[in-house]
């Protein structure tokens, strides 16, 4: 066969190809490309929306995390403050108690000293009286036993009392 036949387009195939191809374009446009491209577009839209929603969710989660961290930090600071205050209060109470106790002790001691002093004074006075009585009894006995003259006896007693001064 003539090789030129290969590059000679036949009218029949030209006709049928034109008809078939044109029909194919219009049929596929309606029944294939439109549904396929619409579905793909719809799907890519929904994927885009889903990605955006995920991004938003992530952003709000980040925001929540930041807020949580802030609250945590604040509560930690609060706790520290409270602990410090409690410590201060404790120290205050202890030092107050100590001061009060010291005051009490001092008062008790002072009172005790006063009492002791008073008691001592009372005892001394008592002792003095006892001594005076004793002295008088001694003097009486001496007077009775040894002295004849009342005046002499009295002078003697006075000088003896002075000598027995215990203070």
């Amino acid at each position: 066969m003539n090789p030129l036949d290969l590059v000679t387009p036949g009218i029949g195939l030209i006709f049928w190809t034109s008809v078939v191809f044109l029909l194919l374009v219009f049929i596929l446009k309606k029944y294939a490309w439109k549904p396929i491209l619409d579905a793909v577009e719809k799907r890519s839209d929904s994927i885009e929306k889903a990605i955006n929603a995920a991004d938003e969710a992530k952003a709000s989660l980040d925001q929540l995390n930041i807020e949580r961290d802030k609250i945590k930090k604040e509560s930690l600071a609060d706790r520290d403050t409270m602990l410090k205050e409690a410590r201060d209060t404790k120290n205050q109470i202890i030092s107050d108690a100590k001061a009060k106790a010291k005051q009490e002790t001092d008062k008790i001691l002072t009172d005790a000293r006063e009492v002791i002093k008073n008691e001592k004074m009372a005892a001394i006075t008592e002792l003095k009286n006892q001594v005076a009585i004793l002295s008088l009894e001694i003097a009486e006995k001496i007077v009775k036993d040894q002295l004849s003259s009342d005046d002499k006896q009295k002078a003697l007693v006075d000088s003896m009392v002075k000598e027995v001064n215990l203070n």
């Binding site: 066969m1 090789p3 290969l6 078939v20 191809f21 374009v25 793909v40």
Partner: protein
């Protein structure tokens, strides 16, 4: 699943080779019986027969019996429409008489009228039949894919997962970057073009199939569609580039003599682009078929030159090369569909680009 795929692909290639083998011995027998000498087998007639159109769909001939599907012959002669089946010719042994018209067919499938009347041949030839089969298949595949989107929330499955990336590829990587924001208007044409060429390329690789996209009539039609769409889309800017390519860079006094040369070049350029498209697809597909058929013919050349032993010796090498070529042709099938679509969108893009 993996093993099934493997088994299918192996048997597929086995069938391919078988189909090619099966169709050749007949021609070889014919050749040697007609010459009655021990001449070397000439593959050219068989190869040409395989890549050409035909009036019946011939699969193979076994012991002198032709296994072929007859196809309708539609002839327009002097205003008379004559329709009959190609089997009426009995493989060229008989003529067909319709009214005063006597049709005869030669060994290359050319129908002529006995008294030399001009015939317009609108027959459903092997290529037309193959094309109809291809578009029917394509329609059902794409319809299935389109319907599948209503299920599974649009998650692609099965054939849908194969078609969708191709559709998105044409949309996002071919149409969008080359045409620009107006690309949606051209998508149905570009997608149809891509899948039409692809399925015809792929079906053409099957044994016994037609060489549809390797026929210049088909590529001519597709190129003409591209030519029409490109030029009808052309804006002021596009026509300005053709009829006033120098613009305001110089005065008319200087431009007129230059345009005597430039204008014919620009106008020829309008047609050169689709012509290049036409030849590229035609030549690539036809060349692929010729290479595969030639490699297989080596076996029969060895048989005629060296005997059966020679044929068995050459066969493994030949089949290995054919297998390799088939893989390349599979790539070319996708590549040529891609290039045709890419260049078409490029031409459209150039025609509708705004002044910058």
């Amino acid at each position: 699943m993996e093993r099934l795929h493997k088994a299918i692909s192996i048997s597929f290639f086995f069938l391919l080779s078988l189909g090619m083998f099966a169709s050749n011995p007949d021609s070889h027998n014919k050749e040697s019986s007609s010459t009655e000498t021990n001449e070397l087998y000439n593959p050219v007639p068989d190869v040409m027969h395989h890549i050409s159109d035909a009036h019946d769909w011939h699969f193979f001939t076994f012991k002198g019996t032709h296994f072929s599907i007859p196809l309708p012959v539609i002839l327009l002669t002097d205003g008379n429409l004559d329709v009959f089946m190609s089997s009426a010719f009995h493989h060229g042994h008989e003529t067909v008489t319709k009214g005063d018209r006597v049709y005869e067919i030669d060994e290359h499938g050319h129908i002529s009228e006995a008294s030399g009347k001009t015939i317009l041949n609108f027959s459903i030839t092997k290529n037309v039949a193959s094309m109809l089969l291809a578009v029917t298949l394509l329609f059902f595949i794409l319809r299935k894919v389109a319907k599948a989107y209503r299920k599974n929330n649009g998650v692609p499955r099965g054939i849908q997962a194969f078609i969708e990336p191709l559709v998105l590829f044409v949309k996002d990587d071919v149409a969008k970057p080359n045409i620009g924001h107006n690309y949606k208007k051209y998508l149905p044409y570009l997608l149809t073009l891509f899948f039409f060429i692809l399925i015809n390329n792929l079906l053409g690789l099957l044994p016994g199939a037609a060489n549809v996209t390797g026929n210049i009539a088909l590529t001519l039609v597709l190129s003409v569609f591209t030519l029409i769409i490109t030029n009808f889309s052309g804006n002021k800017n596009y026509w300005g580039h053709i009829f006033n390519p120098l613009g305001s860079s110089m005065g008319w006094g200087a431009k007129v003599p230059l345009y005597l040369i430039l204008l014919p070049i620009e106008i020829v350029g309008i047609f050169i682009k689709p012509i290049a498209l036409m030849i590229r697809l035609f030549a690539n597909m036809t060349a692929g078929h010729i290479v595969i058929l030639s490699l297989l013919s080596l076996i029969f050349m060895a048989q005629s030159g060296l005997g059966t032993g020679g044929a068995f010796g050459v066969a493994p090498v030949s089949v290995a090369f054919v297998l390799f070529m088939y893989l390349i042709e599979l790539l070319v099938a996708f590549l040529q569909a891609y290039i045709f679509t890419l260049l078409t969108s490029l031409f459209i893009g150039l025609a509708i680009v705004e002044d910058h």
